[in-house]
Amino acid sequence: MDDPYAVDRRGFLKTGATAAAAAAVACGKPTSRWRALTEDEAKTLAAACDQIVPPDQDPGAAEAGAVTFIDRQLATRRKKDQPLWRAGLRGLDATARRRHGKPFAELPFDVQTALLQDVEKGAVEASDWSGVEPALFFGLLRNHAMMSFYGDPRHGGNKDRVSWKMLGVPDPPIRGRLHETPPPPALAPRPPAPRKG
């Protein structure tokens, strides 16, 4: 129950076929690689996450898997937040188009930064933001991008423990023991809850 993606190796083999079948039918957007997001939403989100943790000598949030992380949350634990995220990503793009004539992801990095600073302050055109307060969306974005980058890799972010290497957190922490379950296939269904003995 602490990790809906937990699948051990045997579970991986057993559920592989089911997962592929489930993927074909469960995905509402057949043209998207994502479980909850559309391709366009994912593109906007990747650019926004790279603003929160930008790439420099170390990878940024998007390269470390931020979109995978957020997409998984929106398909599982935070399903009910989907409308907020969709409205927020729509708002970002609408503001970008109104001010610069292009979607958010196509703007230069510094222009994106300035735009997001306005979103954080709520200093954007309200008519572009129906369905979510800009500042609230910014809070969600900031927290989730940070979680994806600095949190545990099992949730789809922090690929190859990139942030932990960057910070100098010793790894592996416990000799002779993997502290986390190996990453599951992206579309594995949740295994049945174990019965208590």
Binding site: D2, V53, G151, D152, M166, L167, G168
Partner: protein, 552 residues
């Protein structure tokens, strides 16, 4: 369906319930313990940075179930909303075998003698229900000792000149090796004229009670211990209870109400079992140990013609005076490495500021913080600096391994309006009214807490921090994992819920044994006091049982 009658049913298996369960079973009573959550094995621990009791950004690890157990939170402006266990406003505590003790930070504090006599020592500030306990530190001392030895505590409190008298030292020495933070903070405290010492922890520093010593990993507070070196009820008293053969622990059982007979005495409890079937467990006596939020809820839910407003609630005291702790402190950045990955992190503390400051009614202990996992550090940037972007990433790289935090629990001034009650509309998965949490912390609590933040900052400055800032007191009723006070213990039935033996004043066979009965909550993590009081109350209960006073 009614099950076979037992002598006692204990609701909850945390610090209070686990102890009572074992003491009644070992005295020969037949006992059923009903636990709402699951039994987690330490060996299935998989250390998720984002799903645990310390950081539940993505969810709680040890219950309660996220969707089935909503609550209603009313903020200081009076706005209300439905909240879930992963949110701070919920005042969550773990819901599993062992309760909070399965995953806690395990600080093992005795309250000080003044903490049991707060009203006599200071007088109540206006707007506070500050009161004395009906028992004293001297009454509690033997039970503190029993808790320290039977649950298991390491540390060295001898240098703490402010502590109450004690007959024996702690059973285990402090942890070695010392961490970098300890080596820097201890001499700094001494230079300030303070009395630093090794924080007492319910963690084995050496093999103890058949289990191994701590292996000093960073995933401690908020996590179950995979080496089983952290001591809670789940690996000490509960196995002892089960070994008697006359005790049964049932997990995933949600108690709906205490059943009463027409004389107003309890005859058992009704609960939903793991398959959501309604069951009745008849018993001669009932012990409520669900934690300060859920214990109050169960009493309020247990209505009858003789108790129309809930058990023990004749004078409207159930659910009032909720107090956890108002935490404040300071953060310091250093130009040298302070991170050595030696858990659990908290290791040095001072009690110089618990009492004795003119103008302040008490204070609290200060200690260094547990190891910060990377995500827990992302909001540690100095006030006014960017919380995202390139500058923030640079801050993380520069200071994740070069910082210290000192903080502490300020003793709350309890208030009449800091409370939990039943929500008139929202129900849980089982159709039972949920808790509604409302109120504010007392202005004097915030005043004390802000002084504590200044003191924490001074300690960090003396330790050589190149930049420091305070984390000052916020608003809102405090509850959280240190929740207490909602079924106050007292001698006067008009101003309290239970008597000094933890028995509800007007119900002869229902007891409340957890932090609900704490009159005040000390300037300390409260768990050792819960353990000690549970040993004390169990002893009195067994005595009354043998005297025949409790049998229906």
């Amino acid at each position: 369906m009614a099950l076979g009658r037992v002598n006692a049913v204990v609701v909850g298996s945390g610090a209070g319930g686990g102890v009572v369960f074992s003491q009644l079973a070992e005295a020969g009573l037949s006992v059923v313990c009903l636990e709402k959550g699951r039994w987690h094995s330490p060996f299935e621990e998989r250390k998720d940075d984002l799903v645990n009791q310390r950081n539940s950004s993505l969810g709680v690890a040890y219950g309660p179930d996220e969707e089935k157990n909503p609550r209603v939170f009313v903020d200081v402006e009076g706005r209300e909303r439905v909240v879930y266990p992963h949110q701070g406003e919920y005042s969550p505590n773990a819901s599993c075998v062992g309760g909070g003790t399965f995953s806690y930070g395990a600080q093992a504090w005795r309250f000080m003698p003044q903490d049991f006599r707060m009203r006599s020592t200071y007088g109540a500030p206006e707007g506070s229900t500050l009161e004395d306990w009906p028992v004293s530190y001297d009454d509690m001392e033997p039970w503190y000792e029993k808790a320290e030895y039977e649950i298991g505590v390491s540390g060295d409190v001898e240098p703490d000149v402010f502590k109450g008298p004690r007959r024996k030292p702690l059973p285990m020495p402090p942890m070695t090796p010392k961490s970098i933070e300890y080596e820097i903070l201890r001499p700094a405290a001494l230079r300030l004229g303070l009395h630093p010492f090794d924080t007492p922890l319910l963690i084995n520093s050496v093999p103890y009670n058949g289990r191994s010593a701590c292996m000093r990993i960073r995933w401690c507070v908020g996590f179950g211990c995979e080496t089983n070196a952290k001591n809670g009820t789940h690996n000490t008293v509960i196995p002892r209870a089960l070994a008697t053969g006359n005790a049964w622990l049932r997990t995933e059982c949600k108690v709906k109400e205490i059943l009463l007979d027409d004389r107003g005495r309890a005859r058992g409890v009704a609960y939903f079992d793991e398959n959501d079937r309604l069951q009745e467990q008849p018993a001669d006596l009932v012990v409520v140990s669900g934690g300060a939020t859920e214990s109050a809820r169960l009493l309020l839910l247990s209505k009858s013609p003789l108790h129309p407003d809930g058990l023990g609630n004749r004078h409207d005291w159930v659910g009032r005076n909720m107090a956890g702790h108002t935490y404040t402190g300071a953060v310091g950045l250093f130009d040298r490495e302070t991170y050595d990955d030696i858990g659990p992190g908290v290791c040095i503390s001072v009690c110089d500021y618990n009492h004795g400051t003119p103008g302040l009614r008490g204070g609290g202990m200060l200690a260094n913080e547990f190891i910060r996992l990377p995500y827990q550090f992302v909001s540690a940037n100095p006030p006014g600096t960017p919380s995202w972007g390139k500058a923030h990433k640079d801050f993380m790289r520069r200071y994740y391994r070069r910082n210290m935090m000192i903080q502490g629990p300020t003793q709350d001034m309890p208030t009449w309006d800091g409370r939990v009650q039943l929500d008139p509309e929202v129900k849980d998965h089982w159709g039972i009214p949920v808790l509604r949490i409302s109120g504010d912390n007392h202005p004097h609590t915030r005043e004390i807490a802000n002084r504590q933040a200044e003191r924490a900052e001074a300690w960090l400055k003396e330790a050589g921090a190149i930049q420091t800032w305070q984390r000052r007191a916020g608003r809102g009723v405090s509850g959280h994992q240190h929740q207490s006070g909602t079924c106050r213990m007292g001698s006067d039935p008009k101003t309290s819920v239970v008597d000094a033996t933890c028995r509800i004043h007007d119900v002869p066979n229902v007891f409340v044994v957890d932090a609900s009965v704490h009159v005040t909550n000390g300037g300390f993590n409260p768990v050792l006091t819960i353990f000690a009081n549970a040993f004390r109350a169990s002893d009195l209960l067994v005595e009354a049982w043998k005297g025949g006073g409790l049998k229906g």
